[in-house]
Each structure stands twice: as C-alpha cells, then as structure tokens.
C-alpha cells in the first residue's frame, strides 16, 4: 500500500507514482499526510496539483470528512471541501453550507458555496438562493437567478420581474446586464401564468438585447406562450402586436395560426405593419385556416404585404390555393398585375410553375417578369421556363430581357425574406447590384470581403448583429465613413432612433413604405 512516509525526500517520479496510487485506492489513512502536503505544498506545481487530485478522490469517499472540513480554519482546505461537497452532491453538507452562505461576505467564496449548493440541490434550497437575487455582485445574483429557475421558485418572481423592469429604465437600455438575461430565462423556466404573462407584456422591451432574449424564451416555451399573445393582438401597441405575430410564427403551432386568423377576423390587424407580420407568421405555420386567410390577403394593395402573402403561399402551394390565385390574376382587376409582380419579386418559382400552365395567367406573369431589372430573378425564371420544357415556355424564356449591367452596388440587410425581396426589386430597378444579407453580420461580411457599396439599407432589429451595431462597424471601416446609410424600422420610440442616429445613420424610413418613398430617399441621399 502506498504510504506518504518520507514523501518530500523522494524524487518526482516516485512522488507522482505514490499520488497516483492513492488517487486510485482512495485510502482514507493517507488523509492526514495529504492534508499536510496540501497545507504546506512541495512547490512543484505538478506534484501539488496531484496532491489536490488525490485529496479530492479520498474526500469523495468520505462525506463526514468533507462536512467536517467545511468548518476547517484553513481557507484553502475549506474551499476544497466546499467544492468536493458539490462535486459529489453530499446531502449532509447542505445545512452547513446554507449557514455559511448566510454569514460569508467574500464574493469569491460565496460563489463557491452557492455553486456547491446548486449541485447538491437540497430540498427547500430555493430559499437560500432567493436571498441573493438582488445581490450587488452580478455574478452571484445571476447564479441565484439560474437556481430560481431550476427550483421553479414562484417566490422569486417579484425580484426577477423587478430586474427585467429596471433594465428598461431610461438610461440603462443601451447595454444588457448579465442579470437581465438570467432573470428572463428564470421567468421562462418558472413558467407560471404570471411569469409568462410578464414576459409577453415586455416583448417590446426597450433594451434590444433583452427584447431578443425575451422573444427566444417565449418561442422556447412554445404553445404555453400562445394564450398570452391573444390579448396583445387585440389591445397591444403596434410594435407589440408585430412582435406577438412574429413569436406565434416562430412557435409554428396550429393553435397559434387559429388565433391569428381569429384576430384578423375580429379586425385587430388594421395597421399595415401588423398585417405584414401576421401574414408572414401564417405563411410560416401553414394551417388550412391560415391559408384561407393568406388567400384573402391577395386583395391587399400594399406591395410589401402582398409579398408576405405570396411568400407564405409559395411555401404551401395547395391546388385550391393555386386555383384562387389563378382566378385573381385572370380576373384582370387592379390587383392582378400587383400579384404578378409580387410572385416575380418573391421569386415564387413553385407558384409560377403551376400558374404558368394556364396560358392567360402565364402571359400576365411573363409580362410582369419582363419589367424586372434583376438579372438573378430573370435567370431563375428563365431556367424554370426551360425546365418546364414546352414549346410555349421555351419561346417565353427566349423573350425575357437581359437586365442592364449594374454599375453601382447597394447592401441591404433585413431578417425578413419578403423585405429582402422587395429591396432586391427596388435596388435593381434603380440600377444597383443588390448585396443582400439576412443580418448585420452577413452584411458586414461583404465589407470584409472587400466589396464596396454606394449605399447601405439596414433593418434595426435583426438576429446575430443588429442594425445599430452594423452601422457602428461600417463607420469604423475604411471607405465606409461617409457612405449613405438608411435605416428602415418600425420602431416608434424615439430613444431607439437616437441610439441609431448616434451610430451614424443618415436617414430613417419607417415601415410600411411605398417602394417610391424608399427610392426617393435613396435619390436624395445619393444626389441622383
């Protein structure tokens, strides 16, 4: 059996062999010797590290020794015992650890104690963590919040809500605190009607990062979130309604679509931005009722909304849907050309292929296609026509124009597919080559790859990198210090615009906008 007699006199190889053996045998008789080595280290980092390992291995077999060690006068040994108690989840350590947590003032040691308690997870342990929810040390408070979530501690709700509320107070919304994140996640984990309701009330939180974390949490909660969204459709502010629609779309549950349709039917969605978001969500979910509602959306005159409708229908091109679209186009009403343009701009190739079978509808679509200035779109449809491989389709493909060669480039960043399709159309119409990006990071990748754009259009709220940060980064990049930047946003709060303006935005355009309005803004900025 390995013994520690004369350990310090032995050479390195012997020492580590002995320690290795002790780690394996976990012989409790070696404990005093190891403690001596731990208290008075050899000075060789490797050996000292192994001493800790061996000590930890033995302590792991002796709950009583660990609990005893919690009251050791030696701080390093006490710390080791705190850690070991957690690692092996020694239940009897919970009580002394709880007592220590109440008395200890050093944040580092407190963190050790709380981490250990978190692993033991004693019954009724929520009370200890609750006392740290508002601790000035953010790390400790964050740990306590994580545990409030683990314990599903309803008594923690007021403190958690207060944290989220404070983060939206004037002057504190530019940066998101660690505790705000943890409080939101804990509220979602506790998942009482009160906590979910609170998160929904705060979907348009002033802090953009917090807002995104709340959205993610509500999407994660899935169907449990849906009943809380319904009152927002009816009574929420415009921005809240838009976000509620987005969340329902991301959750993707049938019930969510039903509620959206109901809200449509009861006239809750009169604002064009809300309609846009609702159609986008319905397209994402794709239930029968939702499709009927989308088909009704073909009556919309706003091109942007029409695009959201078409994108949604493209995903679920059922025969009934196709028949209706076909009828609308062949009816030759005021909206027929708009629908055709939306199909072209949204690059709805599946719809196109089916609708094209009808000669009259096909001709109208080809007419809309001929107006496009976008080479990529023209190529995509030409290719599809050639694949259809009838005499008519081949001859139609041959008549499609070649787009003008673009001499200018524009970056457009937006996380909505329909918005990007709209930008593509507007930009190509104006003779720009569009560089499209689904978020700020993708947009910035163009710049990093050495692309130079004459103008940048960006959304404000996007995942991964938002518009404000993108603008900040562009302004710091060579060649982009004076490039005109337009921010397109639905944000109604001035505070958000201030942040954006500070980062270097030249002009704002508020959604919804007529394509002509954006074109005008572009012309003004570029002096065309």
């Amino acid at each position: 059996m390995a013994t520690l007699d004369g350990f310090r006199g032995k050479d390195f190889l012997e020492q580590i062999t002995i320690l290795n053996e002790i780690s394996g045998s976990k012989d409790a008789q070696c404990l005093p010797g190891l403690m001596d080595l731990f208290e008075n280290p050899t000075g060789d980092t490797g050996v000292d590290y192994m001493v800790v390992g061996a000590l930890n291995a033995i302590l792991g077999t002796s709950e009583a020794a660990v609990v005893d060690g919690l009251s050791s006068l030696s701080l390093p040994y006490r710390t080791l015992c705190i850690r070991t108690a957690g690692e092996y989840a020694f239940a009897s350590a919970a009580k002394p650890l709880t007592a220590m947590a109440a008395k200890e003032t050093d944040p580092d040691l407190l963190a050790e104690i709380l981490a250990s308690l978190a692993k033991i997870r004693p019954v009724g342990g929520a009370a200890v963590f609750r006392t740290f929810l508002a601790h000035p040390d953010q790390m400790l408070a964050a740990m306590a919040m994580e545990m409030a979530g683990v314990y599903s501690d309803p008594s923690a709700l007021p403190a958690l809500m207060e944290t989220v509320r404070k983060a939206g107070a004037e002057g504190s919304y530019e940066q998101c605190d660690l505790t705000t994140w943890k409080a939101i996640d804990a509220l979602a984990a506790i998942a009482t009607p009160g906590s979910i309701g609170f998160l929904v009330e705060n979907i348009h939180h002033k802090n953009p990062t917090a807002r995104r974390i709340i959205t993610d949490a509500l999407v994660r909660l899935g169907e449990a979130t849906l009943p809380f969204l319904e009152p927002v459709y009816a009574n929420g502010a415009t921005d809240d309604r838009i976000l509620a629609c987005n969340i329902a779309g991301f959750i993707g549950a049938r019930k969510g679509a039903d509620a959206l349709v109901k809200a449509f039917d009861s006239g809750c969605f009169t604002d064009p931005n809300v309609r846009y978001a609702a159609f986008e969500a319905l397209g994402r979910i794709g239930t029968l009722k939702g499709l009927v509602c989308l088909v009704d959306g073909l009556e919309e005159s706003d091109e942007l909304i029409l695009m959201a409708v078409v994108v949604g229908l493209e995903r679920h091109a059922a025969p009934g849907v196709l028949k209706t679209i076909s009828e609308r186009i062949s009816a030759g009403t005021e909206n027929s050309p708009r629908i055709c343009r939306a199909i072209v701009a949204a690059r709805a190739l599946r719809l196109f292929q089916e609708l094209y079978k009808d000669e009259l509808v096909g001709d109208r679509l080809i007419d809309a296609l001929k107006l496009s200035q976008d080479q990529e779109i023209l190529d995509a449809f030409a290719q599809r026509l050639n694949e259809i491989a009838t005499d008519r389709s081949r001859s139609d493909a041959a008549t499609l124009p070649q787009a003008r060669v673009a001499t200018r480039k524009a970056i457009a960043a937006d996380d909505s597919k329909s918005m990007l399709a709209l930008y593509r159309r507007i930009l190509t119409d104006m003779g720009f080559e569009p560089l499209l990006a689904a978020n700020g990071q993708e947009a910035y990748a163009y710049v990093e790859n050495g692309e130079f754009a004459d103008v940048v259009i960006t959304d404000m709220n996007m995942p991964v990198m938002d518009g404000v940060e993108l603008v900040g980064k562009l302004r710091g990049s060579l060649g982009y210090d004076e490039t005109p930047i337009i921010m397109v946003t639905t944000e109604s709060e001035n505070s958000q615009r201030e942040v954006a303006a500070k980062s270097g935005v030249n002009a704002f355009v508020t959604k919804p906008f007529k394509p002509e309005a954006l074109k005008e803004a572009l012309r003004q900025l570029l002096g065309d």
């Binding site: 981490a115 790390m139 964050a142 994580e146």
Partner: protein, 153 residues
Amino acid sequence: MDVELAKPFVKAAMDVIGTMAFMTPRAGKPFVKKNTIATGDVTGLVGLTGEGKRGSVSISFQKACAVAMVKNMLGDDIQDILQDVKDAVGEITNMISGQARAGLAEKGLVLQGSTPTVIMGDNHSITHIAKSPIMAIPFETDAGSFTIEFCFE
C-alpha cells in the same frame, strides 16, 4: 451553469495579468450580447470542450493595453513589437485558460482547451459560434481596457 464556468476565468485573468504583466485589472459590470461578435485590436481565443459542453473564451485587448502588457513583461527587451504582442497575448491566454481549467477540474468539471489562437488587426471582429447569448466582462487597466467573452452550449 454558465456563471460558475465564467467565474474561474475572470479570477484567472486577474491573477495572470497581475502576476505576469504587473497590472491591476479592475473588473467592470458583466453584460450580455445577443450578437456573437467580439471586437478588439488583439484577441486571444481558446476553444473548450468536455462534460457535454463546448464553447469558446476570448480575451480582446485594446492596442494600448496589449502593448503596455508586453512592455511590462519584457521590459526594454522588445525586438519586434508585433511579434512580441502576438506571443504575449497567446501566452497569457494559454495561462488563463490553464489556470481556470485547473480550478474547474477541482470541482470535477474537466474541460479540454485548444491551443490559443491570436488574432490581430485594428478593430477586428471575432464570431463565437453559439446560439446562446454571450457573456462579456469588461476590464479596465491604467493602460487601456480588455474584455473577456464566454459562450457555452
């Protein structure tokens, strides 16, 4: 638990930079970013895996801070400032990662660290590939600032 993972890195950063570069970093208020970008002039980056977790930790220094750190470490013996900064940041990142992982191992959390990578370039950006939010802890020193960022999944 993310916070428990982060804590040893913060402590290690203060220890290592204090010991090696004779600077006293003051930790600022931690914050969260939903985007995954770290920015700085010189960044040391390590990937971590183990215990069903994977993630990355980056330490991004402002140029002035990195240079001051190198000067403190090497004294007047600076041969090639760029090379020396790169080496120093790599070395410091490695030490921080090592010390923090040793601390975590004592709690039974064994993480493997990759060899550090150093990225240089004024105001560059680094992307942490993660779905979860990034925890960032800003530090101030008399010579400039640096930020540690964590992401774990």
